[in-house]
Structures are given as C-alpha cells and as structure tokens.
Symmetry: C2
Subunit: 311 residues, 2 copies
C-alpha cells in the first residue's frame, strides 16, 4: 500500500482545485468545488475536497492575495469578504494535520521550479500575467517569502508614475499595462484612436467590449493594428522583466497566468523588447524567458509540494 | 597571539580602502591607496594594501560594477578600462590565500546586515544613494547574489519610460531621479524654472553649477523652493522603495551612499511618501526605513566578513 501523499488546493476567484501527486509529481487525483463567498463555507469546501481525495499527511492551500506567514488571509481582491480569516489554524483544527497556507502565485512558482519550466533553476522568477500580475522568486534554490510572506507582488510596481489610475489607489502600476486587463486597455485606447478596426469588428463593433482575446485573434490573422497593440503590450511586459532582472538577476523567467495561453503570439515580441531594454545586455548573460509548463494546476501542485516540507 | 583575521578592501572610483576587523567586527586597522587606472597597477595596489595590513587567512575585495561569481569584473562605469579583469584569480595567484571579489554595494549590504543598521534582520534591502544607485538583498538571512552575482542593481530599474535619457541607453531609470545626480537634475530643472533662487545663489549664480549640496544647504535654511525639490526627490526615492517592497517584502530598508549624510533632511519626506505610496499600506506591516550605520567603511567591512566565509 502506498503511504498517503501531500495534498494541495488552489483557491481561485470562482473555483477551488485540489490535487494529490504521485511519486513523480504527476497529478494522481483531482477534486473541484465552487469557491464559496464566506469564510465558514470556504473552510467547509476545503475540508470537503480533502475528504474526497482521501487522507493526507499534510495539506497546502494557495489563495490570491496577501497571506501572512501564519496562514492568515490579510487582503485579497477576490476574497475580500474573508480578510482576517486565520485559514491555516482553522483548517488544522478541522483536519488534524499540518496545513500550509500561502499566496497562489508563490506556490505556483515553486511548482514550476520543481516540476515545470524552471526545473533545475536555482535563481528563477515567475511572473503570472492574468487579470492582474503576481509571481514569486526563487533565489539560491529557495523560495523567497519576505518578512510577512508577501514577496512577489510584482503587479503594483510603479512603472509610470504619471500613468493611468490603478484600483489600488496609485498610478501607473505594472499591471495597468502588462496584464490581461492591461492588454485590453491598450487595445481600447488604440480602438478609440481608430487604429484597430478588425479588433473592434471581432468585439461586435463595440469599442468598450474589446478584450485581449479579440486582439489575439486579429493579430493571428495578421492584422497590423492588432500586432502593434501586441508589440506595445510586449514592451510593457519587458520593462517589468528588465526591472526584476536588475534587482534579482535570475537565470530564467517563467511567464504564467492566463496570457500563457497566447505564448506563440507574445513570446517573440516580449523577448525582443527584453533584449533591447536589458541593462548591461551586451556584457551580461541574458536570462531566458519561458512560458509556464504546468498550466492552471500549478498553484495546487505547488501547495502539495510545499505542504510536504519542500521549499 | 591573535590569529590573523580576514581582510576586506573596497575599491572606489578614486581610492581603495583596506580594513582588518577585530573579534567584535570593529575596524582594527586601515590602509589606503589611490585607485590605479589599469589592471596590473590595481592588482599591485591591492597586494600592497594586504602587505601593509599583515597576513590574512582570506581577502575580500568589493568593486563598483557587475562582478561575476568567479570574481571577474564584467563591466564598471568607474573602472571600465579594467573590464574583463579576472581579479579573484589574479589576486589568489599573487597572495596565495582565497580571495572573494564582488560588488561593493552587495558587500556593504552584508556589513550593514551583520554589524550595522540591518543587524538581526533576516529580510533586508539596502539601497545606496550615491552618484548612482546600487544595493543588495538579504532574504531569509542570506545574501541574494542572483545567477551571475549581479543582483541588487536597482539604479537601472525603469520607473518612467518616457523620462530623461540615462547614460545606460534607456530612459527614466530610477537613478535619473533618486540618486545624487538625480537630485541635482531635479534642482537644475527647478532652477531653470526660476523656483529656487537661493539654491542658484549658493551655486555662485550659475544654474548649471547647481548640485545636491546647494539644495541641502538652502533646504536647511528653510528655503521653500529647495524644500520642494527635496520633497520631489523623496517621492522618487519612495517610488523605488515601494516597488522593491512589492517584490521582496523586506522588514527593513537601509539607505546608504553619499546621500546618507543628509539623513536628517531626507528621512522624514521619504518616509511620508513611502507610507502614502505603499501598496496594501493599510493592512500590511510597513517596512522600516533607516539610514546606514557603518559609513564609507561598509564595503570593506562586508568584504572582510564575506571573505571569512560569512553570508
């Protein structure tokens, strides 16, 4: 009989995904629940997932937002109603096993580092380009958590202090440009300027309905206006990657999140801008850019690995 | 008889400073040489300093610029003529003891962490605000070097892509704003706008001669225009510190470099802007800002500590 294996759960804005890994790190079993709207229901849903997947010696749970080192949800855009929830303590009481709770992108970083696109890299930065931007840092083979566990919140690095307002209250945060919503914003600006007729057509003729996928589709068809939007977007992504290179000097960047699905379209222009903008580019080894390998399971996989005492 | 102690040397643009530490980490002896203009003379000068300070079981040497993990000077604004110098190997041949060569600001970071303003902090970022900006990172009690040893080059993080050109070839690098030369530039812009008459007076009536120290002096006299320049400068410093907080979540920032001498003038406005701009500031513990404690010896002290196998 195989001994029970660590179990990881990723809590997303709409669903929770639980996984158990086999001895090679492959996903051996999965369970899903809708993400509840309040704290007691979340604890129930997570306990339910654990019940469905069977006994585990330890459980990891990744969530979006600021999670402190005690496993308390300090703040979250998606789970704001649950702020203050001492999730690790609550789940340990309920399940009777050690529970590690942390940021979903930090956990995904560890999964990509261990089993995915950053395998074998001791100095790696993951950037998740989704609705917003998150990420995580591995330095000398260890996950960088920071004093409170909040390291890797790259989306609110200011890259343009005179830029558009961010819901966080500041202006010109990186995720105003380099996220999925940033791409849509760049596209709507171009549409209002009349430069991307085909993209607007794909959005049903409504400039305000323009989204990233319309830009993607038009760019794949070869539309010049859409390609220019992709190029502007790629430049903003590269600016942030260059800044992180200056600070952290990684060997590899792993790009994940929803935009990783458009890898074929984005990787070449991001790579070109990154080379052009890199400080010391002519004399320094250039970090490699790769898209994430583990897909939407990464957060849950990382939670399982870290629950097992990894990292 | 005391056993020989590790020896550290800091190579500056104009002079080299060597130190030996006593058992408490205090500087027990110092030696100085002018910084030579070519590689063989630099190796001679460093060997000379070691000769003057006596035998050492290991030697550390910090230099400005990109130094790789093998101790080769890859690039340096101040020592450009020596690019490619395999300094660690050359000195080991010459001295017959292990030599660790690295970036001066990275080494200063370790000194401040061990003996200075970051003492006891496992998650700390040092930012040196001098002519340019450098720095270093301590995460979970260990120095973050990056893949090549280039981590901590904060000065060329882009904070304003449409901003003034930087000698590095890009636009809007942080050190265009938040360094000593950035302060002077902000002051000259204000002077050309006629807003800081007293500062120009202190610079002998020549707008182009305006430097940071003139701003400092006028601000200390209470001149409103000079205080506004200090405030604008402080905001740019804070923007970079906020970005580094998002990425690294340190407990403490240690601010060093030449501007640390104006600590009384800068700390309060930097602190105010930092609080105002910090992402999640209402819910997260706020990193503490402190000025460096070890002064211009920090690089040499860190070199000695790291040569001893620390870090």
């Amino acid at each position: 009989m195989t001994p029970p294996r660590p179990l990881g759960i990723d809590v997303g804005g709409t669903k929770c995904l639980g996984v158990v890994l086999d001895g090679d790190g492959a996903v051996a079993a999965e369970a899903r629940r809708e993400t509840p709207k309040n704290a007691p229901a979340l604890v129930d849903a997570l306990a339910d997932i654990v019940g469905e997947l069977g006994s585990a010696p330890a459980v990891g749970v990744g969530l979006p937002g600021l999670i402190d080192r005690d496993g308390t949800l300090v703040a979250s855009a998606h789970l704001g109603a649950m702020a203050g929830l001492r999730l690790a303590a609550r789940l340990e009481d309920r399940l009777g096993v050690p529970v590690r709770v942390g940021n979903d992108a930090t956990f995904a970083t560890w999964a990509e580092r261990t089993l995915g696109a950053g395998r074998g890299c001791d100095d790696m930065v993951m950037v998740t380009l989704g609705t917003g931007i998150g990420g995580g840092i591995v330095a000398a083979g260890r996950l960088v958590l920071g004093r409170n566990g909040f390291a890797g919140e790259f989306g609110h690095m200011v890259v343009d202090p005179g830029g558009p307002p961010c819901p966080c209250g500041r202006q010109g945060c990186w995720e105003r440009y380099a996220s999925g919503s940033g791409l849509a914003r760049l596209a709507r600006d171009a549409a209002l300027g009349g430069r991307i007729g085909r993209v607007v057509e794909l959005a049903g003729g409504d400039v305000h309905a323009v989204r990233g996928e319309h830009v993607q589709q038009a760019a794949r068809e070869g539309d010049a206006g859409a390609r220019a939007v992709v190029d502007a977007f790629a430049r903003w992504v590269a600016i942030g990657l260059v800044n992180l290179t200056n600070a952290l000097d990684p060997q590899v960047f792993v790009l994940g999140g929803g935009l990783a699905e458009g890898a074929d379209l984005y990787l070449a222009p991001i790579d070109r801008w990154f080379t052009e903008l890199l400080y010391g580019g002519s004399v320094r080894p250039r970090p490699t850019l790769r898209f994430a390998a583990l897909g939407p399971c990464a957060g849950a996989v990382g939670a399982a690995l870290l629950a097992a005492g990894d990292g």
